[in-house]
Amino acid sequence: MEIVAKFEVPYYQYLNHEGNVVADLPAFAKDTQELIKLYRLMVLNRIFDTKAIALQRTGKIGTYPSTRGQEGVFVGVGAGMAKDDIFVPYYRDVGILVQRGVKFSDILLYWGGDERGNCFASAKNNFPYSVPVGSQPLHAAGVATALKIRKEKHAVLTVTGDGGTSEGDFYEAMNVAGVWKLPVVFVVSNNQWAISVPRSEQTAAQTLAQKAIAAGFAGEQVDGNDVIAVRDRTEVAMKKAREQNEPTLLEIISYRQSDHTTADDASRYEAKGTRETHWAHEPIMRLKKYLEKLGVWDDKKEESLQTECAAEIEKTVADYLQTEPATVESLFDYLYEKLPKIYEEQRDQLIQLGGQSHG
């Protein structure tokens, strides 16, 4: 017998949950302004999230998937991408989209049940959301193929949940990315739940990161509550994709500090107290502690940041609530470049009936 293959899965963390530095910081993290930027974005996202849930409760939007506790993942990944890179989202990655030109009001529009919230017209390097779990990594691989053929020096990044790694499409995307050496980064946002199914029931593998090994490229785990680690590892992986056409899988670990969506009730399956235990690791407090230790943050700064972010979110909510309804005929306007003649009659009928729905 001889061993023909061995593999390793590294784990990255720079800041522990007490806000202490545990490894050599990457260059950007030595600039406190950069850290404060990340901190502000996490706070802004959390305020937005709380507001979105309140809007759902009062019927102003529909079902909404909270990002509470996962701010470090999405803010860090978004910060690690370059503007010209292409982003292929799933549905919980608000914190990435808003760094790439998508407005919070667009996000409310989508979850409020309006197609215009999915078009990202002013933010062209982003694909629309992908609700069919696990389907979007293939699109990312396709975009990466196009970039490679055209010799463009950008990279693609896509996010999938831990549950999504069980879908066949997810493996197929990694497999082709490995074989074709595609400039793509597969982020797995491991929030440890797929609705009611825990990570341990998705796969018997010790890590999700190691799934990349079978596809012939590297996988690593990143502490998703450490936004510095998330930004850094994203930057490194994207650079590797751009410069060497080498894919990477980043398993970014956090904890879902919420129900799956507002339509879910996690008390049916999540052991009491689990969320509270994980709360000690949440990403915002950790960075705040570090900033305080550096002497660049205090209660006064915190207060004015909270006020400023709350005002920004209030404004975006107002924009959303004032959005004019779409026209009924928009149901037909984007099916084809030109509506086939046979459907013109249906379109006319819809316009005529538009005023007398029974809803």
């Binding site: 529909g62 079902t63 989508y110 979850w111 409020g112 049940g113 309006d114 197609e115 999915n118 959301y129 609700v131 069919p132 779990v133 696990g134 549950g163 999504g164 069980s166 879908e167 066949g168 499409d169 797929a194 609705i195 009611s196 199914v197 029931e201 998705q202 796969t203 339509a263 879910d264 049916r268 399956y269 309804p325 779409a326 009924v328 928009s330 149901l331 037909f332 099916l335 459907y343 249906q346 819809l350 009936l353 538009g354 007398q356 729905s357 029974h358 809803g359």
Partner: protein, 326 residues
């Protein structure tokens, strides 16, 4: 006897048959502890244990394929796709294997599986949660496609589907899950598959429908009767294979036929029914067959879905027009 909703009746039928038949196994995403996202499998894990109530990893091709293997090996899997819009990764397994394993083995192997899934729009769900694509299943030889439209029919038809020796796609209209309660007797009595249910007897027009549109169709029949028009309402229930005889007999009596479905018009099951009526009852028709359906568009997101769904007034108008035809 107890008053219950359609989704509770689904749950009751599952519990009845799991107790009566140890080969019945329930599987799907979140069907265990969580009891399914609509609570259709609520309580089953506690009653029957994790061997027979299985949360699966998140993969629909796997759910479909593993169910086929389980069924061929002597179990009776009842698998849930969380929403119809997420059945499609399992479509290859359903079309290429479930539907034809009997045929491919000349009857030597069979596939007694039930694939359940909620379907249809009207509950303000997110994107992809409102599909009504029953036609892409009804098109496939070897499949049965069954759609209940009341708590009683959900109970009786689900029992029949589980007991059926061939694969059944059981589509549950999510808009009716908690709509009207009915007394359901938990006596284990199945209702017949491949049979229409005549919900209302009438003489002037035959209204043919299934699933959640039964609601608007019955409301239209009420409005029509106020106008002196007597409508017969047929719930097709099993859209594949069709009980065309019941529909033809009704059209021969009324001379008029209006088909109502939520799915897009083109290639819908309504087209098939319309063709069969034309082929077999042309000389009984006093007016052209009409179809009131969803538009040939993507099902819109929540804000616009009320404009997509046909309503009772459209049905009344269509009937009123053909009453004047001859």
């Amino acid at each position: 006897m107890a008053e219950m909703t359609l989704v509770e009746a689904v749950n009751l039928a599952l519990a009845y048959e799991m107790k009566a038949d140890k080969s019945v196994v329930v599987l799907g995403e979140d069907v265990g502890k969580n009891g399914g996202v609509f609570r259709a499998t609520q309580g089953l894990l506690d009653k029957f244990g994790p061997d027979r109530v299985r949360d699966t990893p998140l993969a629909e091709s796997m759910i479909a394929g593993i169910s086929i293997g389980m069924a061929a090996a002597g179990l009776k899997p009842v698998a849930e796709f969380q929403f119809m819009g997420f059945l499609y990764p399992g479509y290859d397994q359903i079309v290429n294997h479930a539907a034809r394993i009997r045929n491919r083995t000349r009857g030597h192997m069979t596939c007694p599986v039930v694939f359940r899934t909620p379907y249809g729009c009207g509950i303000r769900s997110p994107e992809h949660h409102s599909e009504s694509t029953e036609a892409v299943l009804a098109h496939i030889p070897g499949l049965r496609v069954v759609i209940p439209s009341s708590p009683k029919r959900a109970y009786g038809l689900l029992l029949a589907s589980i007991r059926d020796p061939d694969p059944v796609i059981f589509l549950e209209p999510s808009r009716l899950y908690r709509w009207a309660k009915q007394d359901v007797i938990d006596d284990g009595k199945a209702l017949p598959l491949d049979t229409c249910f005549t919900l209302r007897v009438g003489t002037d027009v035959t209204l043919v429908t299934w699933g959640a549109m039964v609601k608007e169709t019955l409301a239209a029949a009420d409005l029509l009767s106020q106008n002196g028009v007597s409508a017969e309402v047929i719930d097709v229930a099993t859209i594949k294979p069709l009980d065309i005889d019941t529909i033809i007999a009704s059209v021969e009596k009324t001379g008029r036929c209006v088909i109502i479905h939520e799915a897009a018009k083109t290639g819908g099951v309504g087209a098939d029914i319309s063709a069969l009526v034309a082929e077999r009852a042309l000389l009984s028709l006093r007016a052209p067959v009409q179809r009131i359906t969803g538009y040939d568009t993507i099902v819109p997101y929540a804000k616009m879905e009320k404009y997509y769904l046909p309503n009772e007034h459209q049905i009344v108008e269509a009937v009123t027009n053909i009453m004047e035809f001859a």
